[in-house]
Symmetry: C2
Subunit: 371 residues, 2 copies
């Protein structure tokens, strides 16, 4: 783990980096977000789970919430700062998104059958291990998946409860609920699209980017920003500038994540190398490589995408094939272009200097190449 | 399908009966609830789903919402009527619980691997069939389960959105949210307990009833009533009377449902005969039979609970064994006692005649023996 300005960067972004940027403010913000989460877990979740029938549930929840990157809460808070001064209520409102993210992660991991997340067993695996260790009858795998889906449901409920009880005033919340509902709906519908993409062998890059926009992009950057800005009473011009910025950064972030899913090291991603390939996920990188490939390369890519179990050598071969097609350069260029759009979009409205700096820093940190 | 007072009774309760009671009011109420649901689906859900990647999702949703018994919305509305006159906003608030129920049903069916619900394929089966019919790659079963979980998530979001947008005034909603959150949390935590009960061979009747109280009972009767009454501004004395009534009726309802899960006919339940036995669900009836059994009967019950695939003859044998232990009479007595408690509880507060009649009718209709 590298440390920049005393800040453990590998906990920060999907890319694990943020080297050129001063992220002390983010580190402080993240501490406040995590403190708000702990307070809410103690007050609202612990009673429901502790002493319950599945006593490991509280540990799984706390583990998942404790080491997150807090990207979504950061964007909500930065959105808020575009229209108002910082408050504890805004921190709690921002922190509520981490419950929504915990919901999404746990269900995603079940659907993808992912064994690891951030270097630890995923929730469904942790529950399956608990089931096995307690010698209960029935399938541990099945139990683990069901328990993870239920804990995810609870997180979806708690996310909304924490926002409602954040202390942000009622009129502000009323302004934000429609966007909040839109975000939650998009998230689930985007996941539908992901399921279908995963079942088609090679979707087009456009189709993949469309899912990326609706699922990860909007949900990670744009909607959190908009919700924060709406809560703070930003005007239409500011909202529109943030929407443009958010869409662009969200897509770029997803593409960076897709590159890491193919080429990232376990130290950076917390997952096995080439994890997205092993899972045969039809990500932007996979789609781009197929689109750019010549006939010979296409046949090989097709065989890898549809064949049986992949050995480490197959993964390496696949990584090399993707690199040969020029897909990496293409995706890097798309990322770069979006970063420019994002910063241009910010220039279309007035923001105070601190908020503007935070937005620029976050854009770079979320999308930057791993050194 | 029998018809009583022009009302198709088999659509009414889990028990499929309501013969002695005038249910015309319920039939009219249910029509209004279903109309409100259709309006919300048209306005809020159709856009999100139609033209989406899984075009069968809207049909699955409408199918699931269209033929429900509307028990929970009825109890919410009756709770409201304990404190205020009927309004369209109250109907919409009540109807929102049908989305919450759709969420619970879809996820339950995935976790139980149930193939049928109300005589039709369950949501995950419908999605699996769609996947297969469209020739998509990957496991249809897995796809079906993931898609059903996602549609359930959407229903959980829409439930809350429909309540918030119902038109019931903000102060009333603010009074009700804490109970609403409690209900949603109990529902998921109760399901956790169910998972663990399913993995233990024979839990005690007390353990089963505890789950029944938290999961089905509270969620079907007590919390909907309390939420309706809280929205309508009922006083503490009324709320306490409704809580007593709701707990008792909820438990009795669950026990009736458990009897039907063992002895009900497919025409009544919409599921195969002895469905709960085939699934080896540790229901109140199964737990009671084990508690009452002599040593010989216990050995046989144990063999049926833990053995391999059950043939129809095994199911019949199991049904007979349960009957021999006297478990049916015991559960009937417990149901009867709870019905008495429920009506006694209503006498501890003042309710207007119409609301009182509706509560008495619903108590009987939810728990009555199938003729």
């Amino acid at each position: 783990m590298r440390t920049v300005n005393g800040y453990a960067t590998s906990t920060f972004t999907a890319t694990g980096i943020a080297s050129r940027h001063d992220l002390k403010w983010h580190s402080r913000l993240r501490d406040r977000v995590l403190a708000a989460i702990t307070e809410f877990v103690d007050a609202r979740c612990a009673d429901a789970l502790a002493g319950g029938p599945v006593d490991v549930a509280e540990d799984v929840l706390r583990g998942l919430l404790a080491d997150g990157k807090c990207l979504r809460s950061t964007f909500l808070y930065v959105g808020w700062r575009c229209g108002a001064d910082g408050t504890d209520a805004a921190i709690r409102a921002a922190a509520s998104l981490e419950f929504l993210h915990a919901f999404a992660l746990m269900q995603d991991d079940v659907m993808d059958e992912s064994p690891m997340r951030r270097g630890r067993p995923t929730a469904h695996r942790a529950f399956a291990n608990w089931h096995h260790a307690n010698g209960l009858s029935g399938s541990s795998t099945r139990f683990g998946e069901s328990a993870a889906v239920l804990l995810a449901d609870l997180c979806l409920v708690w996310a909304e409860q924490m926002l409602r009880e954040s202390g942000v005033d009622a009129a502000a919340l009323d302004r934000a609920w429609p966007r909040y509902d839109t975000m939650r709906t998009e998230l689930a519908v985007g996941q539908f699209a992901d399921l279908v993409n995963d079942t088609a062998t090679f979707p087009s890059l456009d189709a993949v980017l469309d899912v990326a926009r609706r699922k990860s992009g909007n949900y990670t950057v744009r909607r959190p920003l908009e919700i924060g800005a709406t809560l703070a009473g930003c005007d239409e011009r500011q909202l529109s500038a943030l929407a443009g910025y958010g869409s662009a950064v969200g897509e770029a972030f997803q593409m960076r994540d897709d590159l890491l899913g193919v080429f990232g090291s376990p130290e950076t991603t917390g997952k096995p190398a080439g994890d997205d390939l092993a899972a045969r996920k039809a990500t932007s990188v996979v789609a781009a490589s197929y689109q750019l490939a010549n006939d010979t390369q296409r046949r090989r890519l097709g065989a890898l995408m549809t064949g049986g179990h992949l050995t480490p050598a197959d993964i390496t071969h696949w990584q090399n094939l993707i690199a040969e097609t020029g897909a990496v350069e293409w995706i890097e260029e798309l990322i770069e272009r979006r970063l420019t759009w994002a910063l241009d979009s910010l220039d279309t409205a007035d923001f105070d200097g601190e908020a503007r700096d935070a937005l620029a820093t976050m854009a770079a940190a979320c999308t930057e190449r791993v050194a």
